[in-house]
């Protein structure tokens, strides 16, 4: 056992000096490897953290949200629907939600307006994103442009906590009656309904009853809402595909570079090693160690940089991609989350192809006939 360890240590020493003799090339390989890992890991860490956040934040979302569709388009929902649903067995409460979108031409941002209780008619509570784009603070006056084109001024009663930015960034909370007059929505009509179901396991049953009871009703269970966030950035989606394709391309280039053969100098060295008594297996061990040095180092560096990028630098490089054309976007200060399974998968996804690319040309070279060296 000790001899085995000493053997590998000695081979490792030689592998390190071997890599050091071609510093530039090997430094470049290491950098590419680390970059590929960085890209993949950044996307993975980011999406995992986002999904986790969604699960934590939205676990208290309504068990069921019911919408109305007319001719395939979203429509307002009447009070009779709320009463009808309240009468269903299993439903503990039904609340009509009144909310909508507002485009602000001054800031070119979209806000989500919600009608709530407990806010005076001339006042609004705004999310931190709204405060940021408008420059408004508590106590200031903020003008909103109604559908008719007229501006209406409100006093900012409160700026919602930035801790809640991930759910509240673009919110504008307004008195419900005021919202109705602002959007000209008749009383007795609601945007949708939030339905509470006492027994979690009955949610789908209730959803089914609602769909049968009310023609045009579309019931969305909470589980489905959360599943939407699970599939966010899944591999089919643009961002993941782009990152993955880029990474695969980079790796292909690296593997090709490795597989395109050994230089004359490297071949000579292997010939010498064989001639002085190294077996084929010793030469392979050497090449494997060379590969391992690069991949183990590259992985660690790439992973650490990705962690810092996503959680310490707030995914600075990914944020613009996510932002798209939004004017208003929340601060991506995600809570660090690392799924060990993903890290291990990423490890094998990068180390294995690289090692294979290292091993194949090495095998050919390692079987060099030592006698050939005698003839040079």
């Amino acid at each position: 056992m000790r001899a085995l360890l000493e053997r590998h240590r000695a081979v490792l020493d030689f592998a390190l000096s071997s890599l050091g003799r071609r510093k530039g090339k090997n430094a470049a390989l290491l950098a590419v490897y680390a970059l590929v890992v960085f890209c993949l890991a950044s996307v993975v860490l980011f999406t995992q953290a986002l999904r986790r956040e969604a699960h934590v934040l939205l676990r208290d979302a309504p068990e069921l949200v019911v919408q109305r569709l007319t001719a395939g388009r979203h429509d307002l929902l009447p009070r009779e629907w709320l009463d009808a649903m309240a009468g269903l067995r299993g439903v503990s409460s039904v609340r009509g939600r009144l909310w909508g979108y507002l485009y602000d031409p001054l800031t070119r941002a979209n806000y989500t307006l919600m009608g709530v209780q407990g806010v005076a008619p001339g006042q609004i509570a705004i999310g931190p994103g709204v405060a940021s784009v408008t420059g408004a603070a508590e106590g200031d006056r903020l003008s909103l442009r109604g559908p008719g084109g007229d501006y209406e001024a409100f006093t900012v009663r409160e700026v919602l906590s930035s801790d809640a930015a991930l759910v509240s960034a673009d919110l504008v909370l307004m008195d419900e009656t005021k919202l109705r007059s602002f959007f000209s929505i008749a009383s007795g009509l609601y945007t949708d309904a939030a339905v509470s179901v006492a027994n979690e396991r009955e949610v789908l049953t209730v959803a089914g009853k609602v769909s049968r009871l009310l023609p045009g009703a579309r019931a969305i269970p909470r589980a489905e809402m959360l599943r939407t966030y699970d599939s966010i950035f899944d591999w089919r989606s643009g961002l993941a595909l782009l990152a993955f394709a880029g990474a695969v391309l980079a790796f292909t280039i690296v593997a090709w570079e490795k597989a395109s053969g050994l230089s004359a100098e490297e071949r000579r060295e292997i010939g010498i090693l064989k001639a002085i008594g190294w077996e084929t297996s010793d030469v392979l061990a050497l090449r494997l160690w060379e590969g391992a040095i690069t991949s183990l180092s590259g992985f660690a560096v790439g992973m650490l940089l990705a962690y810092a990028h996503v959680f310490l630098f707030r995914a600075a490089l990914l944020a613009p991609v996510l932002r798209g054309w939004s004017v208003l976007a929340p601060d991506l200060g995600l809570v660090p989350y690392v799924d060990p399974y993903q890290v291990v998968s990423l490890f094998f996804l990068t180390v294995v192809p690289y090692s294979a690319a290292t091993l194949v040309p090495s095998w050919r070279a390692a079987t060099v006939d030592p006698e050939a060296v005698m003839r040079t």
């Binding site: 240590r9 020493d13 390190l16 986002l50 986790r52 956040e53 934590v56 934040l57 939205l58 208290d60 979302a61 309504p62 949200v65 919408q67 388009r73 609340r95 979108y101 979209n110 806000y111 994103g129 801790d163 809640a164 991930l166 759910v167 509240s168 960034a169 919110l171 909370l173 939030a194 969305i220 489905e224 809402m225 599943r227 939407t228 966030y229 599939s231 966010i232 950035f233 989606s237 643009g238 961002l239 040095i293 180092s297 660690a300 560096v301 992973m303 650490l304 962690y307 959680f311 991609v321 996510l322 932002r323 798209g324 054309w325 939004s326 809570v335 660090p336 989350y337 690392v338 890290v343």
Partner: protein, 98 residues
């Protein structure tokens, strides 16, 4: 008179790097525990207002509330709207709700 072996330095560097990775995992774990309390204001808001979505993309309706959208929401604006907003390619509406 022996210089430190290259393998010693390398193994030390590896140990450090992977220890740092381990520390990052622990850091994340601790942050999760701590933040759960700090998230209480957010979860309170979710409960109070019955919120259903994270505010990630405010470009369009079906990107702002992806859980509420259906496959036709994009077309409600314009037949070609689906490809219109960049973030539309990142999120899809709930799968099992027709």
């Amino acid at each position: 008179m022996s210089r430190p072996r290259p393998s010693t330095a390398f193994l030390a560097w590896l140990a450090l790097a992977y220890a740092l990775l381990g520390a990052a995992v622990i850091h994340a774990h601790l942050k999760q525990a701590v933040r759960r309390e700090a998230l209480s204001s957010a979860t309170a808001l979710v409960r109070r207002l019955g919120l259903t979505d994270l505010c990630l993309f405010t470009e369009a309706r079906y990107t702002r509330h992806p859980t509420q959208a259906d496959s036709f929401a994009a077309f409600q604006d314009h037949p070609g709207a689906r490809e219109h907003f960049p973030s539309g390619s990142l999120v899809s509406p709930p799968r099992r709700v027709p």
